[in-house]
Symmetry: C2
Subunit: 339 residues, 2 copies
């Protein structure tokens, strides 16, 4: 073990699209864990679109990061020093850590990882926060019924790819929007989506949707916002449900974005549009973990991770989320597990 | 009884704001009621914003009116000929009739009216469809809790004025938006609203709302849309509920209106936005009728109607809804009850 670690800090707040100037890699001594804490060598680090919100200087559901703060996010890693009876050096765990070579975390804030069920990166995707977001968002907010048509934007992302597969397990017709032919092929060929629309290959999302979802849209799981969402809203069925999980098209907007007004469309359809945050379901995370683990172990849900190598690549991996570089979950490999 | 009646037909579809050319008054012979039908002399006729939607050539929750169709709407009137055992000539009834001197209606489609509880026009407002809309929309979609702040747009209209008073009965702080000083004074002085904002007397709806609703907005009952709604959405509290009842600001738009995008605001608040149509609650209309009748009889809910005289004024009364001419329910007096 080296005596120093590297970790990424917020150097300045982004204006519009984040760039390299927003991030600063600093070294410091590896800290010692206090009572009940673990020193964890980070193997994989998660970058997620929601982190863009924490870079803003506005209070939201989470405190904004201060300039100078170490960036935080989901990690999978190996315990190297334990001050807890429940974990030993060598144990693999996951939880919310830091963008660094090492993270000190409270033993209460991590859960064990079983690499025989899925590779470590999956614990940041389908078996991590994105998978739980898909699970609760689709089932609780979307409330899909067999035969419903479920449309997902950002369908080839970490959340969307799981949403579509859970919808298929619930007997729905599933249509995904994604931004490359490789992504749409993955959705229909490997994940069982009934149709996928490459939105970069068509100008007329409404026409593409009319073909892919001829019976209209009963559930829309929105990760994206913008013109895709505008088109979907014009196809909502009676009593449709819209789960607003993400709006990545707008995260880098400096001013309030404008677009077609949607409320007039809700009266005739009596559709429900609801914002969604996975932390509201924290008391039920065990349920989601069990179900998703079973589905993954049984091959009912497939997953994919896009891995970039090296902690120094973390900002690029994060910024790549906004141009859709990832298929499935985007992670950063910080180190190789020792075992 | 005259041998002929006058009735308004749709002469042409409006483009943008309806004008007199859209309406045609024709005469025809007074028809005879068939079995189980009633011939009703119309005393009061309701004009409502939703009728603008039926003038469009697009399918919505109701069939569009065809050019040449007699215009339909709520009426209160007196039975002059009955082919039903349940009603006699002279009985006062209400139901969905026509914009005419007489309406032939099925006896199953009317309910009796008791003029000792409220004057006849109230049966087209607080004790009619608008009152029921307020009742179900606020209680079922808005779901107000004591201490909640409830904001109503179009607050001095037929629906909004009842929404605010039911919210007060539920222990809420109530703030209304209306378009004249006379209206806001009615809301705060007579109806018990905690605050009312004359949106024509301020440029900054957000600032006005911050003052009137310092604890933010838990329930928003929207009859209007447009910039008022834009401002309210920026003040929604965690788990806020928005009932989209009407969007009168947009009913005359020919093209899809644009405005600030609202979905990004829903994630942090986890707010729910739901379209509302009173007909979905048809099986529970008796409950609403009983409750509203009691509240009106006890003086817990006050009401007001704006009455114009003469069937020939019906199109003007309808068009006046879009400029906010009415306080409370807008009705047209077609004839005077005989008793």
């Amino acid at each position: 073990m080296s005596d120093t670690l590297r970790e990424w800090r917020l150097a300045e707040r982004p204006h519009g699209e984040p760039d390299a100037d927003c991030f600063e890699l600093r070294e410091r001594d590896v800290p010692e864990p206090d009572a009940n804490e673990l020193l964890i060598r980070v193997n994989y680090l998660s970058v997620d679109p929601y982190m863009r919100g924490r870079m803003r200087d506005t209070e939201s559901y989470a405190e904004p990061w201060a300039v100078g703060d170490v960036l935080k996010g989901g990690i999978v890693g190996e315990v190297t020093k334990s001050e807890s009876d429940r974990y030993d050096a060598g144990d693999l765990v996951t939880g919310r850590g830091t963008w660094g070579d090492y993270s000190v975390m409270d033993a209460d804030d991590v859960v064990p990882v079983d690499p025989t069920i899925a590779d470590l990166p999956a614990y940041l995707g389908v078996l991590g926060m994105p998978g739980r977001t898909a699970y609760f968002g689709l089932l609780n907010v979307g409330d899909p019924k067999p035969g419903d048509t479920v449309v997902v934007s950002g369908a080839a992302g970490a959340v969307g790819s799981v949403v579509g597969q859970i919808a298929k397990l619930n007997g729905c017709r599933v249509v995904g929007f994604a931004g490359t032919a490789e992504k749409t092929e993955w959705l229909t060929e490997d994940l069982g989506f009934d149709a996928a629309i490459n939105y970069k290959a068509t100008d007329d999302y409404g026409a593409a949707l009319a073909e892919a979802a001829p019976d209209g849209v009963d559930v829309y799981f929105d990760n994206v916002g913008g013109p895709i969402t505008d088109a979907v809203f014009t196809k909502l069925n009676l009593d449709a449900r819209v789960a607003v999980c993400g709006q990545i098209a707008h995260y880098n907007d400096e001013d309030m974005p404008t677009g077609p007004r949607k409320l007039p469309l809700l009266i005739a359809t009596r559709a429900t549009v609801e914002g969604l945050l996975v932390h509201d379901y924290a008391t039920r995370f065990g349920e989601a973990r069990d179900r998703l683990t079973t589905w993954v172990a049984d091959g009912d849900i497939r997953h994919r991770e896009t891995v970039v190598d090296g902690l120094e690549q973390a900002p690029d991996a994060f910024m790549g989320l906004f141009s859709g570089d990832n298929i499935g979950k985007q992670v950063v490999r910080v180190s190789t597990p020792s075992s």
